[in-house]
């Protein structure tokens, strides 16, 4: 088993290698010379050349990549020339709201999707089932930022139930913190629940057709325990995969949706960086998110072993 875990971890190396090359090239290919941007309009050609040499921009590409990679591996993502601080610091400072939204959305999505998906599978073909399928189809057709705007229009502008924009950190009180996150969390979570509900339904349907369920039924096991004990446990594997994979999507979704609600998270950081052409920050953010994504997938794979002892190594 440990060998399997080690093998699995080792298999991440090529993927992360490609991720790092893409992130590196992204900045390398940006139009304009970062050095002349840094030094401003008045810099002389000699000054620019000196700084270029000093910063290693005159080195061959592979050497530049190598130096950059060494820094990244030490947790140094470079400096934001616009904010005058290390990119790592900037990301950490903005991470709180984004992670909060993503986690909240994931909770909301699971809370909606599991019961809804199970119900639909239980009463397959019924009006309830059709309603759920309609919900999932529509949910998958709505971009989460659009749903955020609709919620803002209804819950914020028309009904005035929730604040329309802004953010309060957890230290100002839990309710205060939650009410600002609730709308973006709902927007992302409800949309994401469509996908998870659909997966739950089809996964449950597959299990409910299995022989061991028929055996349990003929033994006279109660329907409740068939659904929640026998079937759900077995249907959980694909559901967990989707939940895990969607966390990466939720993180990306949170980045987009927080810009609507003026929440000072990673999204705002990215948008500001685009405007100020602060490419090091953008590079840092996508590197970090991709890293998260790869690690989450690893964790899901390892979780399989806990849930389903049949998974071979």
């Amino acid at each position: 088993m440990y060998i399997y875990i080690l093998k699995r971890i080792f298999s991440l190396v090529p993927v992360l290698f490609v991720v790092s090359i893409v992130a590196f090239l992204l900045i390398y290919l940006t139009p304009g010379d970062p050095v002349s941007v840094m030094l401003g309009q008045e810099a002389t050609a000699e000054q620019i050349e000196a700084l270029r040499e000093q910063m290693g921009f005159n080195d061959p590409l592979y050497l530049q990549y190598f130096h950059w990679l060494i820094n990244v591996l030490q947790g140094n993502l470079g400096d934001s020339y616009f904010m005058h601080m290390p990119v790592t610091t900037a990301i950490v400072e903005h991470l709180g709201p984004t992670l909060s939204i993503a986690v909240l959305a994931e909770l909301i999505a699971i809370l909606i999707a599991l019961p809804v998906g199970i119900l639909a599978a239980k009463h397959r073909g019924s009006l309830m089932d059709q309603f759920v399928m309609g919900f999932t189809l529509t949910g998958m057709a709505i971009p989460s930022f659009l749903f955020g705007l609709i919620l803002m229009l209804v819950l914020g502008v028309k009904l005035g139930w929730l604040p329309v924009a802004g953010y309060q950190p957890l230290s100002t009180g839990f309710w205060n913190y939650l009410q600002y996150l609730l709308m973006p969390g709902l927007a992302l979570g409800i949309i994401q629940s469509a996908l998870i509900a659909r997966m739950t339904r089809s996964s449950m349907l597959e299990v409910l057709n299995a022989d061991f369920i028929k055996t349990a039924r003929s033994k006279g096991v109660k329907e409740r325990s068939i659904i929640y004990v026998h079937a759900l446990r077995n249907a959980l594997l694909p559901i967990i995969t989707v939940v895990g994979q969607t966390f990466g999507l939720l993180l990306a979704g949170a980045v987009v949706i927080e810009t609507i609600f003026n929440i000072p998270g990673i999204g705002q950081l990215v948008l500001n960086s685009i405007q100020s052409r602060d490419y090091a920050v953008i590079q840092g953010v996508i590197l970090m998110v991709a890293f998260f994504y790869v690690i989450i997938n690893l964790v899901i794979d390892l979780l399989y072993m806990l849930i389903d002892p049949r998974v071979g190594y």
């Binding site: 057709a141 659009l146 705007l149 229009l153 502008v157 998110v289």
Partner: protein, 297 residues
């Protein structure tokens, strides 16, 4: 001597078979109500995108300050935006942009994905390299990767298509590869190879056509994803640049006036939902049509 002459024209038999097959497909298509609905939605949207600009009396760029933020009326069916431009007209021109970006990205990533997927499946020594590159590219969430690419490329409609093609090609490549891996093991490929056919001929003439069905399904979903991502990019100001209309940047303008002008959020939003829904229904239907066993119903 009784020789019964059977007049069988092989060409004719093949023709009849094809006809039969086609009518079977047609019947299966018509029996799938959701797919028919999806197709109708998409055809209507395409018609709107193509013919709409000729039908509307308004100019999508002309600003009429006097008429800014007018609610829907008989003069401006869907109201006006914050610059006094007719909203319906902007949405129609937006449909043109969104459909074009979605279609072009789906087409380009299909071509590139097909080439990569086939190469990976046929040349085993390239497989590992190509697939690890795809894995690495797929580790970036689509929307963030697209944002980063647009930050580098600059906000321009053509760049949106380039960015989306880079984002979606690896997904297509994976689908094509997994199908092609199955096909290349078939006996008839073996037979063709033993006759001395060149690699290029085997790949393009004999393997590629067999990957078209899953590719088509995937392309439909790439189209719908692309519509969503384009709208998101334009909403964030990193996609189709103003003043060109796109559903995403109309929504972005609408967000600033969400307190007064609900129509600027609701109508472009409805068009995005309709087009994505239509494409998804079409994609689901195509998948059921091609592979009835994978149907989730």
């Amino acid at each position: 001597m009784n020789v019964v002459e059977v007049n069988v024209n092989p060409k004719r038999v093949k023709h009849d078979l094809k006809k039969q097959e086609r009518s079977l497909l047609l019947r299966r298509f018509l029996s799938n109500k959701l797919m028919v609905t999806g197709s109708i939605i998409i055809v209507l949207l395409l018609l709107l995108a193509i013919l709409g600009p000729k039908l509307t009396p308004f100019d999508p760029y002309e600003m009429v300050v006097k008429e800014r933020l007018e609610a829907p009326s008989s003069h401006h069916l869907l109201g006006t935006d914050n610059f006094g431009r007719d909203l319906l007209t902007r949405i129609i021109y937006g449909a043109k942009v969104s459909m074009w970006v979605g279609f072009a990205s789906a087409l380009l990533s299909s071509i590139i994905g097909l080439a990569i997927g086939l190469t990976a499946s046929y040349y085993r020594y390239l497989d590992n390299i190509l697939m690890r590159i795809c894995d690495g590219l797929l580790a970036f969430p689509a929307i963030l990767f697209a944002i980063a690419l647009m930050a580098v490329l600059g906000a321009k409609t053509e760049n949106v298509i380039i960015a989306l093609t880079i984002v979606f090609s690896p997904e297509v490549a994976r689908i094509v590869r997994s199908r092609a891996l199955v096909v290349r093991e078939e006996t008839y490929i073996e037979a063709i190879r033993s006759q001395g056919a060149s690699a290029a001929r085997i790949i393009w003439k004999h393997i590629a056509p067999n990957t078209i069905s899953p590719l088509l399904v995937k392309a439909t979903f790439v189209f719908s994803e692309a519509v969503i991502v384009e709208a998101t990019l334009s909403f964030l100001g990193a996609g189709v640049p103003a003043p060109d209309p796109s559903w995403g940047n109309i929504l972005s303008d609408g967000k600033d006036v969400i307190y007064t002008a609900w129509w600027m959020t609701v109508f472009p939003g409805l068009f995005i939902i309709l087009s994505v829904l239509g494409l998804n229904l079409l994609g689901d239907g195509l998948r059921d049509l091609i592979d009835p066993q994978s149907s989730t119903k």
